[in-house]
């Protein structure tokens, strides 16, 4: 195997080693820390927003909308980037048995561009953030400052940030795909990959397919703003006392392009999350994953279905009702791959002697949230129901259960699970458990209440409801949500404390503290610069040989020879002798 990459020596200088580093492990940690920072800012914004909505009116309506836009956009970046770019970067090369990513330089670039995207986004908070929401629907977002606060420079910066994110994600996606396909070690056939690797691969493929579409839409929107084209602006808009010069465009076109990206985007977030959870869960259930092959198949299902259901976000947009029907039916098909995953989780857990350590708790929380949120998705998917539910708090509840809470739970699980390998120390179990319960209960109270408010007909993105009689019953719900949200947000301090405290004072971790099976746990702490000190090991089995009968230990590492439960061993897979 030729290894042109990563044959380089470990760089000596601090800057090359830890700042402008091309080492995938350092880049993974950089991603993680940067996204932690953005998440904290995004969380702080919700504290203000919830204070305003449920406790005391403190914001002007337009300020509320700006904060809401920024919160959503920041969190959007966080959940898009963290599961794949942070954990994938660190662990994909380790799990497939490679010395680095296929393109280390591109990898470094992709981090710095992503960071720039985050900073540009934050800077729009300073110049006045847009009020157009994370979907930036035109015409508001397309005609400049006349349309409202923050829609001048703020919106332009927002778009620049999106463009940077597209570029960074494209570079990341290339790298992930090339690495997974080309750099697997001998014996690591596709059907022996840890599920987490499949998740990162799927996210990368999806990203490669749809981020370009978002960039095309972004270019057109930027041109509408800066070049006065009218791609998304219809004729005769009257704003700020004058008729705008734009003519002949269609706001619907942006919605199409945006959601063509936007729906697959939720898979870019949730698929690697699901897969990391599957991987971690098997470890703590000490059970082989149920239906590995079907999981892989359903990943293909997610990618293909993901490309043909975007219209379910547009049932009330004025889109052709016939397309609406098609999108509705296609969307319901999504529940098939989703259900396959859910069944696999439940079957893996069935009768298992579960070890309730924090990583497992977060995984169980993920499963619960995913199923609850998915049930809500079935309501949304039917255009007749959605016409009522769309643009209400119902959708806010649905998207937060999945896009926000489930995704973040998988990140918590991953942090607790891989912390020992990343930082050589264990996180504290008690703190983790307390944090888990606070967050899970909080999430359910907050977002289920939002579902209920949706049934009341409470519209999304309202800064203030005291003017509306029909929303009187929602006022107490708002207060409840705010109180619980403040407590839940406060509970995140437990996590942050646990993270940073364990970084320096956690118990020193053993090489393989969880008795896990994949390649990263064969490596010493800290993982050496080129990962595998000498030869890259040959792989003999999948990563889920738990529950082995007899023997001193109940698991086998992937590097251990001998019969396996993966149904592949001995069939055309090279062993050491064959070359």
């Amino acid at each position: 195997m030729s290894e042109t990459h990563a044959e380089h020596e470990a760089p000596r200088s601090f800057i090359r080693r830890y700042i402008f580093s091309m080492d995938h492990k350092v880049i993974g940690i950089q991603y993680l820390l940067a996204m932690l920072l953005l998440a904290v800012v995004g969380l702080a914004l919700t504290v203000v927003m919830r204070w305003h909505l449920g406790i005391r009116t403190v914001l002007r309506p337009e300020t509320y909308l700006s904060l809401m836009t920024m919160h959503a956009s920041l969190m959007f970046v966080v959940v898009t980037v963290t599961p794949t770019s942070a954990f994938g970067n660190y662990f994909l090369p380790l799990q497939v048995g490679a010395r680095d990513m296929a393109f280390p330089f591109l990898n470094m670039l992709s981090f710095w561009v992503a960071l720039a995207a985050g900073l540009v986004l934050l800077s729009s908070l300073i110049v006045g953030a847009p009020i157009s929401g994370w979907t930036a629907y035109p015409p508001l977002s397309a005609v400049g400052g006349v349309a409202g606060p923050g829609l001048g420079l703020g919106q332009t910066l927002w778009l620049v940030a999106v463009a940077l994110l597209c570029v960074s994600s494209m570079m990341g996606a290339l790298n992930f795909i090339a690495t997974t396909l080309n750099l697997r070690t001998r014996g690591m056939s596709m059907m022996r990959l840890p599920v987490s690797v499949w998740g990162w691969l799927t996210a990368a493929v999806t990203g490669l397919l749809v981020f370009p579409v978002l960039s095309a839409g972004g270019i057109m929107l930027l041109l509408d703003r800066l070049g006065k084209t009218s791609f998304f602006v219809p004729s005769g808009l009257y704003l700020g006392g004058e008729v705008l010069p734009h003519q002949g465009g269609s706001p619907l076109l942006w919605q199409h392009l945006f959601w063509f990206f936007g729906h697959p985007e939720v898979y870019i977030v949730i698929v690697p999350s699901m897969c990391m959870v599957t991987h971690i869960m098997a470890n703590f259930a000490r059970r082989p994953i149920f239906g590995y092959r079907y999981l892989v198949l359903s990943l293909f299902g997610f990618v293909t279905l993901g490309g043909v259901v975007w219209g379910h976000h547009m049932f009330v947009s004025g889109m052709s009702p016939y397309s609406g029907l098609a999108f509705s039916i296609l969307t319901l098909f999504v529940s098939i791959p989703a259900a396959i995953f859910a069944i696999s989780w439940l079957m893996t857990l069935w009768g298992a002697r579960i070890q309730f350590r924090p990583p497992m708790l977060y995984c169980l929380g993920f499963v619960s949230l995913f199923i609850s949120g998915g049930v809500g998705g079935l309501f949304n998917a039917q255009s007749s129901l959605d016409i009522y539910l769309h643009d209400t708090y119902w959708v806010v509840g649905h998207l937060h259960l999945l896009f926000a809470m489930a995704a973040i739970f998988s990140v918590f699980a991953a942090i607790h699970f891989w912390f020992p390998k990343m930082f050589g120390r264990m996180m504290n179990d008690t703190l983790g458990t307390i944090h888990f319960w606070f967050t899970l209960v909080g999430a359910y109270i907050i977002f289920l209440t939002m579902h209920y408010m949706g049934f009341l007909g409470h519209p999304r993105r309202y800064a203030e409801i005291s003017q509306f009689d029909f929303l009187k019953p929602a006022a107490s719900a708002h207060t409840l949500i705010s109180v619980v949200a403040l407590i839940t947000a406060g509970a995140q301090i437990l996590f942050l404390f646990n993270f940073f405290w364990s970084l320096f004072a956690g118990r020193k971790a053993a090489t393989n503290p969880w008795n896990s099976t994949s390649l990263e746990w064969t490596l010493p702490n800290p993982v050496p610069f080129s990962n595998f000190e000498r030869d890259i090991p040959v792989v003999h089995r999948w990563a889920y040989d738990f529950e082995l009968p007899g023997g001193a230990q109940d698991y086998e590492m992937q590097t251990a020879p001998g019969p396996s439960m993966d149904g592949q061993t001995g069939k055309g897979v090279p062993t050491e002798k064959s070359t």
């Binding site: 750099l183 070690t185 791609f231 002949g248 055309g572 090279p574």
Partner: protein
């Protein structure tokens, strides 16, 4: 290894299942992604044009000839690039560099004629937001799509020049030439859609 490995073994790790280097795989993936940017722009164009049956069709025979000439330059530069790759593969670096220079000349000619065309249109009063022929979006789409393409041509030229220089000083390999070539052919390929969809479908006829 004596016998052709079974399909399953291609995927069993330790080698590239597609038998392509990272570099080439990476470039192909990039091309696939970039193709979608153009695809989305084209679909946007089609969408807007469907909504405007009165879409202008101002290009006269002169403009079409000009665009055909541009097509000729770009196609020929692609052909010379293909030859350059073949020469580089055979180890004939100087011939490869020569053909890359020819390619760059073709690309430059394309850009020059294209720029002249843009200037001509702008002089007639065309801009991103208006034009003398009717639906303003016509020029909006025209300048956006051809502008994106021009940017690709220009960046392709930079890549070609860098690789050619490196090849001359033996800092680049045939693989680099091939991958630069892939990008160049892709730029050419996009034009194969721009030319009929933007020019020929907006021809003044009858």
């Amino acid at each position: 290894m004596t016998s052709e490995p079974a399909l399953a073994a291609d995927w069993s790790g330790g080698k590239s299942p597609y038998a392509v280097s990272h570099l080439k795989l990476g470039m192909w993936l990039f091309i696939v992604g970039d193709a979608f940017t153009f695809a989305a722009l084209f679909v946007g164009y089609g969408y807007l044009r469907l909504g405007h049956p009165e879409w202008p069709r101002p290009f006269d025979t002169g403009s079409i000839l000009q665009a055909s000439l541009m097509t000729f330059f770009l196609l020929s530069s692609s052909a010379t690039m293909a030859v350059a790759v073949a020469k580089a593969r055979k180890g004939d670096a100087s011939a490869a560099v020569q053909h890359m220079v020819l390619t760059v000349i073709g690309g430059l000619l394309f850009l020059i004629v294209h720029a002249l065309e843009w200037r001509h249109l702008i002089q007639q009063g065309a801009s991103l937001f208006s034009n003398p022929w009717g639906v303003p979006l016509f020029t909006g789409c025209f300048f956006t799509i051809t502008g994106m393409h021009m940017a690709h041509v220009a960046s392709g030229l930079v890549v070609l020049l860098v690789i050619a220089t490196k090849l001359k000083h033996q800092h680049a390999t045939a693989d680099h030439v091939e991958v630069a070539g892939l990008y160049w052919h892709f730029v050419d390929l996009v034009w194969m859609f721009i030319f009929p969809l933007i020019y020929l479908l907006s021809m003044r006829t009858r």
